[in-house]
């Protein structure tokens, strides 16, 4: 279970104070995958970072139970001067997983070959992306946090990743923020809209998209 209790977050920008989350209460129960829609700048990334503990809320509390991933595809938490293997081992350690298992899975799934024992900073963007996704699959999270994209590498690798992720999704929940209908339809069974600091949850996913399209036209 992940629960937001009266969470507020605002930013100071050049145009004044922007309230991204305004006293938000929301449950993300286990077994449900929720997609949060939002226009550009609505605070989707901030929401996922607050859920993941990368950023802190101004007010309120976040309850996390179970193994929660870092925002998927995010490579900033890895250390460039350490090898892929060492980085994978670090992740295994902080999640209390078996180092050797995580290493083996990552090496195999990321298709890095000998690069797995090279410093991460020598990787190409594609390799780094493959590495990051492979590690997060290796960890077997109960919650996968996804900011926008679930795609990396070439078409073949994308397909391979998609199948593996789908299989994970049978056991795990996904919290996904996106402005893309397709991504949400494919991965989520519930949808919500983040707008003006509030989150509105819809039971019917189609209802959410209808509302979201309305929102888009209003802005345009």
């Amino acid at each position: 279970m992940i629960r937001l209790e009266h969470v507020s977050k605002s930013y100071k920008s050049r145009y004044g104070c922007v309230q991204v989350l305004d006293d938000v209460c929301m449950d993300f129960p286990k077994g449900h995958s929720v997609g949060v829609l939002g226009l550009n700048g609505a605070g989707k990334s901030t929401l996922i970072k607050i859920i993941g503990g990368t950023e802190y809320a101004d007010k309120g509390r976040i309850v996390r139970e179970g193994k929660v991933s870092w925002p998927m595809g995010y490579t900033g938490g890895f250390q460039g001067s350490m090898t892929g293997r060492e980085n994978a081992r670090f992740v295994a350690r902080i999640y209390g997983a078996d180092c050797r298992e995580i290493e083996a899975f990552t090496q195999d799934f990321a298709e890095l070959g000998f690069h797995f024992d090279m410093p991460l900073k020598s990787y190409s963007a594609g390799m780094k992306g493959r590495f990051a996704f492979a590690v997060s699959l290796a960890c077997d999270f109960e919650y996968y946090l996804v900011d926008e994209t679930l795609e990396t590498g070439d078409a073949r690798y994308r397909e391979k990743f998609r199948r593996a992720f789908e299989e994970r999704r049978e056991r795990a929940s996904v919290i996904l923020v996106s402005h893309n209908e397709q991504t949400i339809r494919r991965n989520c069974d519930q949808a919500a809209i983040l707008n003006g600091g509030k989150i509105h949850v819809f039971d019917d996913i189609n209802e959410a998209f209808k509302e979201y399209r309305l929102l888009q036209t209003k802005v345009a």
């Binding site: 503990g53 060492e86 350690r93 999640y95």
Partner: protein
């Protein structure tokens, strides 16, 4: 089983689980930091020996030249080593902790890593480094034929703990405040660098000072700590000037102030 005991049990399990998680995270960060600090260059670990070795050698040569080998029953080498340890412990822990959050901010991407873990990991790694360096140097002196018998190990441990806590405290204050006043780090470097080195009793004891100077320098809690650690180390030396209350209270207040400031300001600092 009654509802209350069941609840107590699950609360206890939560606490134990949280403790396990935190030690796991801190352990992983320490390993990673060790790797990136000492793993990249072969000579990485040698560097940390250079400063104390130079000081000890310089001090010993100077004393031999002056013909004053005896320092109230302490050899100049051990005298210098025992004075340097609390000072370096304080200084290095302070500087590591003050840079701990900015240097490792990226790790906050992982849900279970908190700023507190970053501070504790850096502090413990530095503690380990300094203590290891000194253990090796003292062993070297023993092998060179010097008489080393630690008089009161527990008191020695206590004094290092105070220097350690003092370092964490000042470091945490700096880490918490520096996002708002970046220049405080330069100020702290000025204040805690050379002045602290010259007033903390690294190369003298309080008893060797003229009274007027001593009375001023005794406001420095680290001087008390150094005196205490030397008294604990040598059978022949017993300082008359340690005020336990002042020393302990000062170090512990700074430590709690640092941790409190950290918990109050850190989230706001990261949001900027």
């Amino acid at each position: 089983m009654s509802q209350a005991t069941l609840q107590n049990r699950s609360a206890l399990r939560d606490v134990i689980g949280a403790f396990e998680l935190q030690s796991r995270v801190i352990g992983a960060i320490i390993l990673r930091e060790t790797k990136s600090r000492y793993g990249e260059h072969r000579l990485g670990f040698l560097w940390v020996f250079i400063e104390p070795v130079l000081f000890v050698l310089g001090f010993a040569v100077l004393h031999t030249m002056l013909g004053a080998r005896d320092h109230q029953g302490m050899t100049p080498e051990l005298f210098m080593l025992t004075g340097l340890l609390p000072y370096m412990l304080f200084r290095d822990v302070m500087s590591q902790v003050s840079a701990s959050i900015n240097g490792n901010r990226a790790l906050l991407a992982f849900p279970q890593v908190t700023t507190f873990d970053l501070i504790v990991a850096r502090a413990l790694l530095e503690l380990g480094t300094v203590v290891a360096v000194f253990a090796i140097l003292v062993t070297a002196l023993v092998l060179a034929g010097q008489d080393v018998a630690i008089e009161r190990p527990l008191a020695l441990f206590g004094s290092y703990l105070l220097a350690f806590g003092f370092g964490i405290g000042v470091g945490a204050v700096l880490a918490a405040v520096s996002p708002f006043f970046p220049s405080i780090k330069q100020l702290a470097a000025q204040l805690f660098g050379r002045p602290m080195f010259f007033t903390s009793g690294v190369f003298f004891t309080a008893g060797q000072l003229p009274e007027s100077v001593r009375n001023v320098l005794l406001y420095n809690p680290l001087l008390h700590v150094t005196e205490w650690s030397r008294s604990a180390f040598f059978a022949s030396f017993e300082s008359q000037f340690i005020e336990f209350g002042y020393m302990t209270l000062f170090c512990l207040s700074i430590l709690s102030a640092g941790l409190m400031l950290h918990s109050v300001l850190q989230k706001r600092a990261l949001a900027r």
